[in-house]
């Protein structure tokens, strides 16, 4: 360790080599994946996010939702994700290939949201109900009331108004950000079949 260059090249070389092998290597591998055409439905999967939902993804990120909610399902033989009913199959690289801001999430203080759309429609959670949920919060989720404004009713109630009880003559109106966030949450699903990730039941049968 007598000379500067050895140290400098050592640190740089080690970082560069590992970056090329791990980051670039896996990128080259996942970048080759293409869309999966589904002839029955005549669609290619995964589909890009619709415009409003893509805006909602920005709101999701700027509120830091990923601090408590993940969007990745681990395989059934490995962890509890599928047993909790969060999805039918594990998430794979192809599911995220079109996203420039994938929200993998950090912890699970709340449920995984990978397939929230499917769960919501099963449980009868409409956009209006989801707005109310975001406004009031719950025992485990803070309220996001700041996304809504209390306005006086002039004439008809706004079609963005929540049905929650408000003082007479006023209404709670969802902001554009709240609208996009809800549109995003209600677009989340990974329910299409991919060859590398068959549904859990299918995978069990194949065994």
């Amino acid at each position: 360790m007598k000379n500067n260059p050895v140290l400098f090249i050592g640190v740089f070389g080690s970082l560069a080599l590992s970056w090329v092998a791990v980051v670039w290597g896996s990128h080259v591998q996942t970048d080759k994946l293409g869309l999966q055409y589904d002839p029955l439905e005549n669609v290619a999967n995964p589909a890009p996010l619709p415009g409003v939902a893509a805006r909602g993804q920005l709101v999701y990120q700027d509120l830091g939702c990923g601090a408590c909610h993940t969007q990745q399902i681990r395989r059934q033989t490995y962890a509890y994700d599928i047993a909790r009913g969060w999805g039918e199959r594990q998430s794979v690289a192809r599911d995220y290939m079109l996203q420039s801001r994938p929200q993998f999430g950090l912890t699970r203080q709340g449920p995984d949201l990978t397939n929230y759309q499917i769960r919501a429609s099963k449980d009868g959670i409409t956009a209006a109900k989801l707005h109310e949920k975001l406004y009031t919060g719950s025992k485990v989720m803070p309220s996001f009331a700041f996304l809504y404004t209390e306005e006086p009713v002039s004439g008809e109630k706004s079609n963005r108004a929540l049905s929650l009880a408000t003082p007479r003559g006023s209404q709670l109106v969802a902001s554009e950000r709240a609208e996009s966030l809800v549109a995003y949450l209600l677009s989340l699903k990974q329910d299409y079949a991919l060859p590398e990730a068959p549904a859990a039941e299918l995978a069990a049968e194949n065994k």
Binding site: L17, R101, S138
Partner: protein, 448 residues
């Protein structure tokens, strides 16, 4: 230099205060929920950024710069450059943390700084590093001490890892899962090749100075250093086990994690004399805490990367416990040791109050214990709760609540300790402070 010391301490307080809010929000969900700027996800990102870019960067740079100057026998140079750097760095971090609170945050830990701020931080860092490298280039003795290697490696690794991460996460954005792989690689790069080496440099510098002994097995210190440099960049992706990435990616990380055992063994055998000698040194006690936490963290990193364990502990507060152990257990005590050692030599006066130093040390270890135990047990409760599909999130939250309360108290106590240091520092600067008569009360063999 005092500027760095003050700004880093203020960042420790600011980051600690944000962590306190974050920690309180974990068990009391309504805490500040009505304020958009203090919503949960943003506070978490801001607290982490303030601690990493404010406290770790400022104090770590000061420590490296000073140690390199001392060990090289050249004194510190480039004071004007580093003044410039300190100003713009702190301006950048302040704007960045405000930007995060305003909603411009990233998705991955360590890399939340808004894109607009990154170039400013980059320029300021180059000026930082220049001063450090000058001190290293000017060294009179060529042999180089282990403390120097670690300090220089940290100064070199930080810009490479950070620029790779920020360019590919914020400017030329990688699509899909490649982002997660990059963020995992770079996140552990910062933990193991920037934050940890600064603490190790401090330990390798202070332990022989205070005990007055040569380190046992010092000829193996090379091996310890190079095993860290060669293996650490490969281990980051172990945290992606089970995720939507090619399976070889996490597997490679887990396997390389075991190779790091060599590094931990060498560090343990080199620095064990810090524990075996009964020195009544305040500084040494801080360093001991740092070394013990480092070895514990190394063990935890390996254990929690095992697939069977990770399936349960992934996505839980265990991550929070490990982050606390790194920042408040490994880095902070080691650097506080350097600060307590450095200031009397810088100003020629003793610290105003020995009692406050003792109280600070008590707060540091006790707060750390509460933090790590609190978050750690809460994390296990959470992992076991999640693994049982019948348990709802309100039940899991209720079972975690007492432990999270403990963690909140822990961060409060750590913060209180930092206040003690700041008070001591202010008294030190007052003209009434006593001149240093006997440096050995602060634990030294001849000042270098």
């Amino acid at each position: 230099m005092l500027l760095f010391l003050v700004s880093s301490l203020l960042w420790l307080l600011a980051g600690g205060a944000l962590s306190l809010v974050h920690s309180a929000q974990l068990h009391t969900v309504g805490f500040f929920a009505s304020v958009e700027w203090l919503t949960f996800g943003r506070v978490q990102a801001a607290a982490e950024s303030a601690l990493v870019y404010g406290w770790v960067a400022n104090s770590g740079f000061l420590a490296c710069w000073w140690m390199l100057g001392r060990l090289g026998g050249s004194g510190t140079r480039g004071a004007a450059i580093s003044l410039f750097a300190a100003f713009f760095w702190n301006l950048g971090v302040t704007l960045g943390v405000l930007g995060i609170l305003a909603g411009d945050l990233g998705v991955y830990p360590f890399f939340h700084m808004p894109a607009q701020i990154v170039p400013l931080l980059g320029v300021a860092y180059c000026a930082f590093a220049l001063a450090g490298v000058l001190a290293w280039k000017d060294r009179e003795e060529d042999a180089g001490f282990a403390a120097q290697w670690y300090a220089v490696a940290a100064l070199y690794a930080f810009p490479w890892v950070c620029s790779a991460a920020y360019v590919m996460l914020k400017f030329h954005v990688l699509p899909g899962v490649s982002q997660a792989v990059l963020a995992a690689w770079a996140g552990d790069g910062l933990r193991l090749l920037w934050i940890a080496p600064i603490a190790l440099a401090a330990a390798y510098y202070l332990v022989p100075k205070i005990t007055g002994a040569t380190l046992p097995g010092y000829s193996y210190a090379h091996l310890g250093f190079w095993s860290l440099v060669l293996f650490a960049p490969w281990v980051g992706t172990r945290q992606l086990a089970g995720g939507p990435v090619p399976v070889w990616v996490p597997t490679l990380g887990i396997a390389c994690g075991f190779l790091l055992v060599v590094h931990y063994l060498v560090v343990a055998s080199n620095l064990k004399i810090a524990f075996s000698r009964a020195h009544k040194s305040q500084v040494l006690r801080f360093v001991q805490l740092g070394i013990a936490s480092y070895l514990l963290l190394g063990l935890c990193d390996i254990v929690f990367s095992l697939r069977g364990v990770a399936a349960c502990t992934q996505f839980t507060h265990i991550a929070e416990a490990r982050q606390s152990l790194l920042v408040f257990g490994v880095f902070t005590p080691a650097i506080l040791g350097v600060f307590y050692f450095l200031l009397p030599r810088l100003t020629g006066r003793a610290w105003a109050s020995e009692g406050l130093i003792t109280s600070h040390f008590t707060c540091t270890w006790f707060g750390l214990l509460l933090l790590v135990v609190g978050y750690g047990v809460a994390g296990f409760e959470q992992g076991l709760g999640l693994a049982d599909p019948k348990q709802g999130f309100d039940v899991i939250a209720a079972s975690m609540k007492p432990w999270l309360l403990i963690a909140t108290h822990g961060i409060g106590i750590v913060l209180l300790g930092a206040v003690f240091m700041l008070v001591n520092f202010v008294f030190h600067l007052l003209p009434a402070a006593k001149p240093v008569t006997d440096l050995s009360t602060h634990a030294v063999t001849p000042a270098s």
